[in-house]
Amino acid sequence: MTPQLSWYLALSAVLFTIGAVGVLIKRNVISMFMCIELMLNAVNLTFVAFSSFFRDVSGQLFVFIVMTVAAAEAAVGLGIIITIFRNRESLDVDDASTLKL
C-alpha cells in the first residue's frame, strides 16, 4: 500500500489550518509571521504532491517561485517589523492599532 494523494492533501490541509489559527491567535508579530510561512509551506506540499502524482513539472516550478517570493517577503517584512519596533518598543500587534486612537 502506498500513500494516496489524499493523504498528502489532508496533511497539507491540517498544516494550513494550524497556520491560520496561529495567525489569528498569536500576538507577537514575529510569531504571526512564522505562522504565515507555515501556511505557505502547506500550499507548497500540495503543489508538489499534485506534481508528483500527475507527473507534471509545473507544480514544482510553482513551488520554486513561491519559495522565492517567500524569501523576498521575509526580508521586507522583517524590515518593517524592525521599523515598527523602533517606534513603539513593542512587538505586540494589538499595539499597532493606530486607527483606534
Binding site: M1, A10, S52, S90
Partner: protein, 221 residues
C-alpha cells in the same frame, strides 16, 4: 515502507507545527518551524522531488529562518504574556473558522480521491533537476525573469527600510508598550519640534492635548 515514512514525517511535521503555535517564546517557535521545514523536505523526497527538497532546506531553513532568528536576537523579544488582554473573543472565532476551513478541504479531498482520474502511484521523473531546469528556462521563462526583478525590489526595499532614521526625533522619550505619536500628526498647528505624545489610551491623549470635554459619540471599549 513508504507509508511508514509518510506517517513518521507527517507526524513530525504536524507535531512541530502545533508546537510552534503553542510556544510562547518566539525563539522556540522558530526552532519548531525549522523542524517543520525539515520534515517537509523529507516528504518531498518521498514524493520524488529531490530538487525541491534541497531548495527547501537551503532557502527556507537555511536562509529565511536564520534571518528570523537574527531578528529575534536583535529585538530581544521576550516571552508572550499568559492571558490575552484584548480581543479574547477572537480565539473561539479562530478555532471555528479553522474548523470550517478544514471541513471544506475535506470535502474537496473526498472528491479528488473518488475521482477515477486520480492515479495512485507516484513514481515520476518530474522531480529531477534536469526537468525542472528545462521547464524553468523554456515554458516558464517569463515568471522566472519577473521573480528576479521581485528579488531586486525586495533588496532595495529592505535597504530603504533599514536606512531610515525613524519617525522620532533624537531626544524622544519612548515608553515600552505605549503609543508614541508625533505631535504634528495629531495637531496640525503644533510646531514640528513639539514633544511627542506618549499614552496608552485615547483619554490620556485627550488629557495631554487639553481636549477633555470633547464629547464622544460611542464609547464602549
Amino acid at each position: 515502507m513508504l507509508v511508514l515514512l509518510f506517517i513518521v514525517f507527517a507526524g513530525l511535521a504536524v507535531g512541530c507545527a502545533v508546537s510552534m503555535v503553542a510556544q510562547r517564546n518566539p525563539l522556540y517557535g522558530a526552532i519548531s518551524l525549522i523542524g517543520v521545514f525539515i520534515s517537509l523536505a523529507c516528504l518531498y523526497v518521498t514524493l520524488a522531488a529531490p530538487f525541491i527538497a534541497a531548495v527547501q532546506v537551503i532557502v527556507y531553513a537555511g536562509a529565511i529562518m536564520v534571518l528570523v532568528v537574527f531578528v529575534i536576537m536583535l529585538l530581544n523579544v521576550e516571552e508572550e504574556e499568559r492571558l490575552p488582554l484584548r480581543l479574547r473573543s477572537l480565539i473561539p472565532i479562530a478555532v471555528g473558522l479553522a474548523a470550517i476551513l478544514f471541513a471544506e478541504a475535506a470535502f474537496i479531498i473526498f472528491f479528488v480521491q473518488a475521482s477515477p482520474a486520480t492515479p495512485t502511484r507516484n513514481i515520476s521523473d518530474a522531480g529531477l533537476t534536469a526537468s525542472i531546469g528545462a521547464g524553468l528556462f523554456t515554458t516558464y521563462l517569463l515568471p522566472f525573469e519577473i521573480t528576479s526583478i521581485l528579488l531586486l525590489m525586495a533588496i532595495v526595499g529592505a535597504i530603504a527600510l533599514a536606512r531610515r532614521g525613524g519617525l522620532l526625533p533624537q531626544d524622544a522619550v519612548v515608553v515600552p508598550g505605549a503609543q508614541v505619536l508625533a505631535r504634528d500628526v495629531l495637531d496640525p498647528l503644533a510646531p514640528p519640534e513639539a514633544p511627542p505624545i506618549v499614552a496608552h489610551t485615547t483619554t490620556e491623549v485627550e488629557r495631554q492635548l487639553g481636549l477633555e470635554d470633547v464629547r464622544h459619540l460611542v464609547d464602549d471599549e
